[in-house]
């Protein structure tokens, strides 16, 4: 029973969420699609800037652990910004806006946004 995957009896009565498996409610934001793409995420990113920077830092640390010379992050910072020009509108402009508001290098915001394609192997 304790060997992975640990399996338990079907839970009941968990709702409304509470207890040790509930870590909090999720905050609501509005994104106005009438705004220019570069402005749409400004409120979200202003609120979550510190958390975004912390998450990106973890990815930097992981990348530097794999390639201690720092060359992998150099490639992300120097080459991935070139990719943003090829991404479809309005996603490219939204990504630029997020980088501008958060102060996170553009290449690292691009990497976060293409994580899925990178990690499907």
């Amino acid at each position: 029973h304790l060997a992975p995957p640990f399996t338990e009896e079907c839970r009941t009565g968990m709702y409304p969420p509470k207890g040790p498996t509930f870590k909090g409610a999720v905050t609501w934001y509005t994104v106005d699609l009438n705004l220019p793409p570069s402005k749409r995420w400004a409120a979200v990113i202003s609120d979550k800037k510190a958390e975004l920077v912390a998450m990106i830092q973890v990815i930097r640390d992981l990348a530097n652990a794999f390639v201690p010379s720092g060359k992998l992050i150099d490639i992300v910072d120097k080459d991935l910004p070139l990719l943003v020009d090829t991404l479809p509108y309005p996603f490219n402009e939204e990504i630029r806006g997020i980088a501008a508001v958060s102060g996170v290098p553009l290449g690292e915001v691009v990497l976060f946004n293409i994580f899925y394609e990178v990690f499907t192997v």
Partner: protein
């Protein structure tokens, strides 16, 4: 990830998911947690996408990520996406993109486009099954009418399978983790069997967003990679999301 679309005895459709992410991306030995998963949780937000002051769609998202993994077009359809691993993975699609072959779509941009533009379950199904992608994926789609629910298994170029609700076969729910539904899951990562056991135990008569939360709270469906649980009801337009934790004893994936 675990996604499920279920229809109750009255024909109402509910859609729920656990978003699991961060496998092998740094293990915190002291706290017994995945480092990236822990950093992703504070980034989870619900977003109401509005045009002309009216809701177009709603989603559970990571701040800074412009694509969609979980969303609802109220009264029309619900959509989640689960990761599908393959040697013919997204890195090949990225390489092709860099080399100038740009006829494929980035997965999360497609889901966002579908939520933003598709105006029916059938249109969403067509776009998700026929658009060329950069990476393989599972799309889990729910509609607003009886029998409208499916799992679309995608390779980068093809729709490999569309697995639908089917009353004639007694299939009142479709449930997807991260394995093709016609194959056995990896034996050390079988979240499908416990999830289906709990769905069957719940029964169609008692299925609701609340009981789906119970199913998604059962370990190992809930595991150390689970960042959030989202519950959706297409008929009311409800989207609720909750941050999750999985204290020991708990499966690492």
């Amino acid at each position: 990830c675990t996604s499920v679309v279920a229809e109750d005895s009255k024909g109402s459709l509910f859609h729920a998911r656990n978003l699991d992410f961060g496998l092998f991306m740094g293990w915190d030995v002291k706290n017994k947690t995945w480092i990236v998963t822990e950093k992703l949780r504070p980034l989870v937000v619900n977003v109401d996408f509005r045009r002309n002051n009216q809701t177009v769609f709603k989603s559970t998202n990571f701040a800074g990520y412009v694509g969609m993994l979980t969303g609802i077009r109220p009264h029309v359809f619900t959509l989640t996406m689960n990761e599908r691993f393959s040697l013919d993975g997204g890195y090949i699609g990225i390489l092709e993109w860099i080399l100038g072959q740009r006829d494929g779509m980035w997965m999360s941009f497609l889901t966002r486009s579908v939520l933003e533009n598709a105006t029916s379950y059938e249109e969403a199904k067509k776009l998700l099954s026929q658009t060329k992608l950069l990476a393989p994926a599972y799309f889990i789609l729910g509609g607003n009418q009886t029998g409208q629910g499916c799992v679309i298994t995608r390779s980068r170029t093809l729709s490999l399978d569309i697995w639908e609700l089917d009353h004639s076969l007694g299939r009142w729910y479709v449930l997807e983790t991260n394995y093709d539904h016609w194959k056995e899951p990896l034996f050390v990562d079988d979240r499908r069997t416990p999830a289906m056991k709990c769905m069957n135990q719940t029964t169609q008569a008692n299925i609701s967003p609340k009981t789906l939360y119970d199913v998604l709270s059962t370990k190992p469906v809930l595991n150390k990679l689970t960042t959030y649980t989202t519950l959706m009801d297409v008929s009311t337009g409800l989207l609720e999301a909750y941050l999750r934790d999985c204290p020991d004893p708990c499966s690492p994936w």
